[in-house]
Symmetry: D2
Subunit: 354 residues, 4 copies
Amino acid sequence: MSADVFSHRWLGGLFGDRQAAAIWAPDRQIAHMLRIEAAYTRARAHAGTWPKVRADRAARVIETCIPDLDALRSGTARDGVPVPELIRQIKAAAGDDSDLIHVGMTSQDVIDTALSLTLRDINELLAARLAELCAALSALSSASGHVEIMGRTRMQAALPIRFAHRAASWATPLADHAAALSAQRSSVERLQLGGPVGDRAGLGAAAPVVAAEMARQLDLHDAPAWHSTRAQIAAHAGRLSLITGSLGKMGQDVCLMAQQGIDALQIRGGGGSSAMPHKQNPVLAELLVTLARFNATQVAGMHHALVHEQERSGVAWGLEWMILPQMTMATARSLAVAQDLCARITIRDGHSPA
Amino acid sequence: MSADVFSHRWLGGLFGDRQAAAIWAPDRQIAHMLRIEAAYTRARAHAGTWPKVRADRAARVIETCIPDLDALRSGTARDGVPVPELIRQIKAAAGDDSDLIHVGMTSQDVIDTALSLTLRDINELLAARLAELCAALSALSSASGHVEIMGRTRMQAALPIRFAHRAASWATPLADHAAALSAQRSSVERLQLGGPVGDRAGLGAAAPVVAAEMARQLDLHDAPAWHSTRAQIAAHAGRLSLITGSLGKMGQDVCLMAQQGIDALQIRGGGGSSAMPHKQNPVLAELLVTLARFNATQVAGMHHALVHEQERSGVAWGLEWMILPQMTMATARSLAVAQDLCARITIRDGHSPA
Amino acid sequence: MSADVFSHRWLGGLFGDRQAAAIWAPDRQIAHMLRIEAAYTRARAHAGTWPKVRADRAARVIETCIPDLDALRSGTARDGVPVPELIRQIKAAAGDDSDLIHVGMTSQDVIDTALSLTLRDINELLAARLAELCAALSALSSASGHVEIMGRTRMQAALPIRFAHRAASWATPLADHAAALSAQRSSVERLQLGGPVGDRAGLGAAAPVVAAEMARQLDLHDAPAWHSTRAQIAAHAGRLSLITGSLGKMGQDVCLMAQQGIDALQIRGGGGSSAMPHKQNPVLAELLVTLARFNATQVAGMHHALVHEQERSGVAWGLEWMILPQMTMATARSLAVAQDLCARITIRDGHSPA
Amino acid sequence: MSADVFSHRWLGGLFGDRQAAAIWAPDRQIAHMLRIEAAYTRARAHAGTWPKVRADRAARVIETCIPDLDALRSGTARDGVPVPELIRQIKAAAGDDSDLIHVGMTSQDVIDTALSLTLRDINELLAARLAELCAALSALSSASGHVEIMGRTRMQAALPIRFAHRAASWATPLADHAAALSAQRSSVERLQLGGPVGDRAGLGAAAPVVAAEMARQLDLHDAPAWHSTRAQIAAHAGRLSLITGSLGKMGQDVCLMAQQGIDALQIRGGGGSSAMPHKQNPVLAELLVTLARFNATQVAGMHHALVHEQERSGVAWGLEWMILPQMTMATARSLAVAQDLCARITIRDGHSPA
């Protein structure tokens, strides 16, 4: 029932990624939001501005809340964000302690901090896959790096090279991406706490303590409010696209190497045709290029979302929601595909005609 | 369980569109594919190249086939398209008539013709909504066109204008889009029939008859094979983005008019804030701008897919799958939102301070 | 002294196009603006609202004005458009008739109508080149259409085809583009006349007469003011990108066919390497793909410019200025390159290994 | 005579940047190329593979060569790069020492290393401007940070804030960009030396010595060949767009604050209208948004260029040439504009109606 390829009933077999999808799943996203609200309530108590016993009780109510998702959907249709309705439900459950819920925060604090928790999960997944893929490429190069293939520039035969040389052009950027991703994590896995207009005015002098305690509970980096400054989100999206772009180069190379007449490489398994049983299409390699071009297209949208006017732009924020999750899905899938591909290819001597 | 906003459990309340989603639903897509295969089998009989009785029998088997969607998913993972596995299932059901199924066609014929059927549904939905929206804007202009508002150029007060003048800048492009969409329909609601490499070689002299008969059965325009020439698909995507772009202008205007201090317009209902009960956010107007920027971003990807190499590009084709359905969703939603918005706004005299 | 490839001192040899550049040259652009101002002054007299003798005199002053371009540059830096300074210069030259200059128009009327005149020149150039290219492709297909080459799908050898089949996938879209371009011309080669806020209020009842007469003099289509509705400009940009996209497919095919090991085609001349004298790079074919991807990227920007707020958006308008001229340059160049390429290629039997 | 706004005869007044343009000027680019060739020849002697006396003599010939730019243009038209013709000219001048010129390098080594030298100049310019702008914003915030303005979320009045809070949302990302730019410099200001297919095979065991010596002479970072791995170039382009995007947020805020009815800010100077003498358009603020959207559009193209097939992609490389220089121009201009704007704005109490 979906127009996106990632969760599509059958295209999902090609484009989908179970682990990445689980990170974006509704229950996990709800859990993030509840955890954030609970952390906030407890942090207010920790800072001494809310009574500890009541705050603990309220936090436990929050944590055990099972939101009515249909109402959340209607609420989102009405308010543009799910949080007002979510808070209404939580407050209804909290009874007399409802004054210790959400007061001093705003919707964006919840949504953006939930994004941080989500990106942490995504980043861990990507880091693990980058490491595995680097290992797989290293193994491939160890096994076949000595094979002489024709080096090609501007799509013309140039001079013979060792396959190791081309494989290095696949692997080296990935090591860079792994390092960059690791370095970038603190800039996106961070608390957003700003209150209605982002200045934490409602928290008074206790604001730094509340923020630090929330960050500690959520295991996120403490940070000044970043509600209207989205460069680090866009930079992260850029890294996702750099990853898929580098894998797109690998995919394109594999497609070219697999051509009959070039025959520098063979791919085992998959790629059946409905009309030509003799064919074996380089489906996974093509997919790497498709995902690269998809993310290359999307990254522009994330940069347009930098024009985030005043203290909150509904326009720019919504654009991020439409694009960023898909970019993470494409990136996760691309890494898995590349690894699968490594296991399926055999380098052949493409220099002299087979 | 999805990373896309259209089918998202709660964001779908804001971004989703029930009617457009139904058009892309798996059962409807499967129905298209089966209908196409059946039409092909019957058309081969009609052309005299396949025996009519057996072909009719095979066509009925096709039409009543209930595919195993899990297998379709695995098949797509393996082959990059669902068709080889679908054909396997149909053939298994057809028994002795399996030689009268799909032979002479190829996966792309099925997928692209199904796209044509889908775009026909989409285009009908969009045409109806464009007409309704034009009527709604016309009514709004009739009711409030005389109100004097401040004309603003480069975001500065310029000279007073009638609201009708600004409303015309919202409505006029929509009339153009309706006309253009209508004119474009024949270029995208068309049969794709090419066989393995697009030259219909397997159909021999009967090819034109088979194509004409298939087109007739499917109520599509007959056309030469367009498997590797995607300009008309990209042009259609462009029209989708032109529609959302024009509505984005309207949305941006409404956002600006609704500002306190400008006060040229009031929006009834919706837009609640979790932190500021006094606020009423112009959620629908913002959404129009978000959808405009989303489609403006996507249209680039559709144009990149024009570089569709040789007789079939898995890369470029897959990129269309990732982007075009979402563009139709965004466009359908944008039209619905604009109409909803028309019913909610009241134009105020924004010329003199309220 | 330029960062753009079209006018670059040496890259211009590859990317530049003398005829297209002449259309955008400062003197020609100035001539358009003066012609528009003169036409306006005369049209006001024609409509009976300005005295004919004085208007003729003023119009002649306008037509013979030689603007100080340095001052125009400073004026643009200050005002964001060259028109206020241009009008100042014209008025200084017109002396007592300066009250019959520009009054009732606005900067955007001049700039946008000049764009219409420019696009008319561009469209004529493109139409001529499309026709020539279609003829060249037709000749190529006549000469070599019978040659059997390997049809390739998803970059894998599929079944043999005639070269004519692939050539048709290059030529057919061009014929479509020629027809579409011709049909679109009236929607972009049109007068823009709106006055300060686009409602022609300053022209009173004479507005339709003034507009019709201006359009007649300038040989443009008369049209309602389109100052804030840019869909037709964006649609035109889309067509430019569709043209380069179709040629990008041809370029990509040629690159693939020219590979050693595939050897389906030979290119005469050009493509020397500084390091490998034996190589002959398919420079022109690659350029077609580069230009396709360039325009595919740019088209997104033109669609973002549809969010043109209120009666004039300095933001969106300026974005068009940055992008549209370059898209026309890329398109003109692409057509010339494709034609050059046609004259240089020989189709070879790529089916059986050479 | 140019279709680009940066070097345009009058639009250059608005969009152009003298300092950035000088960095891309032909003479400076030629100087880079000659310097690289000379460094290479000397480095070969330093490594002991070429005779020192002759190499020094050849290097001096290279350094004093005054290339025929018209021939360079023709050469680029023919070969797709200027280097083969440049080398031809240098060799002609070098006479008997022509065997000590370029041998072992390739065109891409020269072009890409020249890009590194260019980006070093650009980065220094940007770093200086970022520092100046941060200081200007800091001064603005010191002077007016205490002023109470209306905080606005989703374009609706929310709660009063200090201007310092909004100013921080302009300044903070710039400090981040300055730090990130500084950190990124080593990844783009680096030697490219690979020879024909990038494996430095022609340099033998001396390759590391030659590379290190060249890097030393050119004051660039030594690096493995990066001819076909462009992620760091694309990452750099991303940073440029992040900078303009952050400034686009500032520009959008200023536009919104300058609206009559909001009146949170006044801009001194500029912005005259040809039709409405009472208007003062926020030209510079709008320009910031335009430049942001321009770069946001372009960044996609740079990411598409990551699909850089095999040992050299003429397609992807050419796409970088078309886009990256313009992105640097837009970024340099944006920083200058923002600084100019800071000097022109006065914050007003926009909370209570003026």
